[in-house]
């Protein structure tokens, strides 16, 4: 992500500037012949670059500008002290409101090794409604490769939910918070 942004910053804006000078020169000297054709070509290139720049800018800022205060809903995160990388997905792929559902939590160490025999405590709630989870979900199975099945999650209303995992294994204790927006 960062790399992409840096690439755009270096490539797009200088070209956009180049376009402006190209257009100016087209307006000033409406000559004929090869030289002016060359200038038109340059202007066309400049315009295309501007378009690309604008599109890239829109693409990059759209998620933020569409939902300025929305919580971070990424499903893979480093834990708070950086001990683990945790990923959380609904077992059936989709989240259905009002039903008990199973989710899968995958735990890897910093170096990418699967975390086995972790003790995991789950809590959470709706920060804007000051209530906790309507159920008490638990880890019910270890599926191998760092994957833990969590059963008993239920989202009873739409809105912003938070799920907090306290993880403890041979690698140490850490916490991670996931946001789920329904």
């Amino acid at each position: 992500m960062l790399g992409k942004q840096a690439f755009l910053r270096h490539s797009v804006f200088p070209q956009a500037g180049g376009m402006r000078s190209a257009r100016l020169s087209v307006v000033r000297r409406r000559g004929t012949g090869l030289a002016s054709l060359w200038r038109y070509l340059l202007a066309g290139l400049g315009l295309a670059a501007l378009l690309a720049g604008v599109l890239a800018a829109v693409y990059l800022t759209a998620p933020q500008s569409g939902q300025p205060l929305g919580p971070d809903v990424s499903r893979t995160k480093k834990t708070d002290n950086g001990l683990y990388v945790a990923s959380l997905v609904p077992e059936r792929g989709v989240v259905r409101q009002g039903e008990l559902e199973a989710w899968l939590l995958t735990l890897k160490t910093k170096t990418g090794a699967s975390v086995e025999r972790a003790a995991i405590a789950i809590s959470g709630g709706m920060p804007l409604h000051n209530h906790g989870l309507p159920t008490s979900p638990q880890v019910t199975d270890y599926l191998g490769e760092g994957r833990y099945r969590i059963e008993g999650l239920k989202f009873t209303m739409s809105g912003w939910w938070q799920l907090r995992f306290a993880i403890s294994s041979g690698a140490g204790s850490d916490t991670v918070l996931f946001n789920v927006v329904l």
Binding site: N130, L133, T135, S136, E151
Partner: protein, 399 residues
């Protein structure tokens, strides 16, 4: 030209003053569609009750539901409080059976879709729920062996066609129960384990038959549903499906500024959860702490999903298994009731605390703190007009 300008200005003023009908945003339309009855999914099978969808069981259950013989003194049936022509409730602040109870009778439309039963959710299945009023001294005030004897005497053949042979009744005392009077408890304790189990099984089957009947009690479409259907299909509403401006604004408040839809959501207008909403207790009734006291009761119930009388396997017991057992928000938390039909069945709340929808809306606007625990509702800035709009909308759910 000047005249044209004037009439244009007048038209603008009229729109601003609110003669035009307000529009809904796409997000509002989506929420409204999620409340309409046509989104109610088909009733799921109840694997804990293998008679749940058997017509003969439902027919027997219906007989039992209306039978005053199913009580200690032969005067009370389920239908004494759950009246068929009154949305299966009784219009009283607190129900009256053999004695006067501490809670309001709950209407039953759509009840088979609930995960928990009673205002505090102290039962986890419809069939286990039905066994509670039968032995409650304030409701039907009977006892377990008396009900089993009664089944054999009155409905023996019907019972056996559905559930198989009745047990051997020799040596079974006429009145015995683990929950009854001292004499009844002593009689129950004197029975053998096999006898107690046999009687419990008959008793559980009574609940399963009644539950099979209750599964047929479903909510009916209302004006709101006709309005919502037109809104989602884009059809021009006709007749009573046309909402007044007041009703539309009430609906907008319900799903918007007033936040009602956070708890009263889905086609039944309930999240099936428990919340402390700061409803005050009723003077002179015993202390009532809601959900927090129900947890131990449902865990101790021999007829709960983990018990020996469940059919099917324990995979159906998720709600009980993953129940929240202790959390501060369980204090004075009560089940979110459905709002369908509410307008025509005052009084409101778990002990009939409010006698009109105006009082209910005033309660939400003020959001007084709870006497115990913390209320989840926050004060609302609602003008008198907005309160009336909310009430007008709630009425469309009962027409």
């Amino acid at each position: 030209m000047r005249r044209l300008f004037c009439s244009l200005a007048l038209a603008m003023a009229a729109i601003l003053a609110g003669c035009g009908k307000p529009d809904f945003s796409d997000a509002e339309k989506q929420t409204i569609a999620s409340l309409a009855l046509n989104t109610l999914p088909a009733l799921k099978p109840d694997t804990t009750n293998r008679f749940a969808d058997m017509p003969a069981a439902a027919a027997l259950g219906s007989t039992l539901f209306f039978d005053v013989g199913m009580s200690h003194d032969g005067t009370v049936s389920c239908s004494t409080c759950h009246k068929i022509d009154r949305q299966f409730q009784d219009d009283l602040p607190q129900a009256v059976g053999v004695g006067r109870t501490n809670r309001r009778t709950m209407p039953l439309a759509g009840v088979a879709r609930d995960p928990w039963f009673f205002w505090d959710g102290r039962r986890d299945s419809l069939w286990a729920q039905a066994l509670t009023p039968l032995e409650n001294p304030l409701e039907q005030a009977g006892n377990r062996t008396a009900y089993a004897h009664y089944m054999k005497a009155r409905f023996g053949e019907r019972y056996e066609r559905i559930f198989g042979p009745l047990p051997d009744f020799s040596g079974i005392p006429p009145n015995a129960s683990p929950l009854g009077s001292e004499a009844e408890k002593a009689a129950w304790n004197a029975m053998s384990d096999t006898q107690r189990d046999a009687i419990n099984r008959v008793y559980a089957n009574i609940g399963k038959a009644i539950a099979a009947f209750e599964r047929s009690i479903e909510p009916a479409p209302t004006r709101f549903d006709r309005f919502a259907l037109n809104l989602s299909t884009g059809a021009e509403p006709k007749g009573d499906a046309i909402f007044s401006r007041e009703e539309i604004l009430g609906l907008k408040l319900f799903i918007g500024k007033a936040n009602c839809v956070t708890c009263h959501n889905g086609p039944r207008f309930t999240d099936n959860g428990f919340h402390n909403t700061g409803v005050p207790p009723v003077a002179n009734l015993p202390p009532d702490r809601g959900r927090v006291d129900a947890v131990a009761q449902v865990e101790a119930d021999p007829f709960n999903c983990f018990g020996a009388y469940r059919d099917g396997d324990a995979s159906a017991c998720g709600e009980l298994r993953f129940m929240v057992k202790d959390a501060p928000e369980l204090v004075r938390a009560y089940k979110t009731p459905s709002l369908r039909g509410a307008a025509t069945r005052p009084p409101y709340m778990h002990a009939g605390q409010f006698s009109s929808l105006d009082e209910v809306v005033a309660h939400y606007a003020k959001a007084a703190p709870s006497v115990e625990g913390t209320s989840e509702v926050h004060p609302l800035e609602l003008s008198d007009r907005e309160r009336a709009e909310l009430v007008a909308f709630l009425k469309t759910l009962a027409e």
